[in-house]
Symmetry: C2
Subunit: 240 residues, 2 copies
DNA sequence: GCGCAGGTGCGTACGCCGTGCGCTAGGGTG
DNA sequence: CACCCTAGCGCACGGCGTACGCACCTGCGC
């Protein structure tokens, strides 16, 4: 047994515990999870991957987060916290509601994974940011003149529309984010298959033919705005 | 080595290959997958579980289905195939569109897992049943007098609304299906927590207070119908 | 100075998962 | 009879979420 096999009780010999990062915290973990989800989608988030991005072991995360499901709930509420603040509120009811809707859609498209996650966990009972957002929107409808009971339904109608539209846009965007390709590449790659699939359906075929070459982002935008105005039209019929 | 350790080359000695089931087929697999999904939700569907329900090994399924993702696509299109057929079409545009919307919602609520799955895979490019359904609905809007380009947007608006509403209802229903409890049990169990959470938000608090004791299924139904009529109102403003 | 308590991070391990691969046996065809 | 084709299976691999218990750091009362 030679001397250097003995453990040397010296600070310099020990591996110098790495503590340069401000340690692990719930906020850090959630923020990094959101970053990973944005970059690579829901499937790519595993506790091991997330841990290694934070220079930590997978199981260390469990000191700050009870489970992966809870982590998702926290991530979803973090996104709710990102929604644009109320705004000037000077303009009329229609403009304010439209702005909220546009902000909601924009946020979903920035984090496309959230659409599928919301569909899993539901919209009710979410965290404080989600509640604050609902409260604000409900106030907006009440101020517009909807009686309280109806304001709730009117708000749900608008939110349902926005979520429905954004969900299908988001599914497309997450697929692209996951695969790493560009939107244009994927469009060009899938278009022929789509045209072949709709061959037997004259109206769908005409629709595809008419849209060939359009910028999909722009036509999604137009389509969203069209439906938004229709929903607002329909709600307005209930006001004096 | 005694005699009965020798393999006996007789039909009666062999374990009698079980072939009473008409073997494995893609249709059988998809049908059983849908059944399992309805009963226990997305998480519960694993190839091993599905295989054992069919008296088969997990990897045997791969002879008929390329991957689990493909199995989900087939399951989703199977549900599209379940949508109510066009119907008499005698009544006006509004009634027909409303019926399609109600049928869509009812189908989603019967298979609540499909909402989250649709949010993952997107609504476009799905199987033949989905395409047929879109073609029919598009025809309905064109017949109502929408010019072709706008008919597409109008249809998307309606579908987005229905999907958005049904998605959040479905999330609730799948949670209940997964857990095995009853709707009433869960409502009673979660209500106090929800009331506590909305304590600081007067409008949300008032809403909960007003709804205490209501039948949630009924008020979901009412809320859906309210929004449906508003969306149809909004679309109708574009017709002569 | 010293022991102690509480909390943080990690290594290991368990039981799942999707699925690739190569074998076997049974039925159809020459 | 020989032959091949194919459905089904057993095994194995790498990855997953996470329970558990140990090692260590920090701060406190003595």
């Amino acid at each position: 047994m030679s001397a250097d096999e003995q453990p040397i009780p010296s600070v310099w010999a020990r591996p110098r515990r790495e503590r340069e990062q401000p340690a692990l915290s719930r906020e850090h973990i959630v923020a990094e999870a959101v970053r990973l989800l944005d970059e690579e989608g829901t499937e790519a988030l595993s506790m091991r991957r997330l841990g290694s991005r934070l220079n930590a072991g997978a199981t260390s995360l469990y000191r700050h987060v009870a489970s992966k499901d809870e982590l998702f709930e926290l991530a979803v509420d973090a996104i709710y916290g990102e929604l644009p603040p109320p705004g000037p509120a000077a303009a009329g009811w229609r403009e304010s509601a439209g702005d909220v809707a546009r902000g909601l859609r924009a946020t979903i498209l920035r984090h496309p994974w959230i659409a599928a996650k919301l569909a899993e966990v539901g919209l009710a009972f979410l965290g404080p940011n989600a509640l604050r957002h609902s409260e604000h929107l409900l106030g907006l409808f009440e101020a517009a003149g909807f009686p309280p009971a109806e304001a709730d339904q009117a708000m749900s109608t608008l939110v349902a529309y926005v979520l429905g539209v954004s969900t299908s846009e988001a599914a497309w965007l997450s697929m692209i984010a996951r695969s790493g390709g560009s939107q244009r590449e994927w469009t060009e790659r899938l278009w022929p298959a789509a045209e072949r699939a709709v061959q037997d359906y004259p109206r769908l075929r005409a629709r595809y033919a008419a849209q060939r070459g359009d910028d999909p982002a722009r036509s999604n935008e137009d389509s969203f705005e069209y439906g938004l105005q229709r929903v607002l039209d329909g709600l307005q019929t209930r006001l004096p």
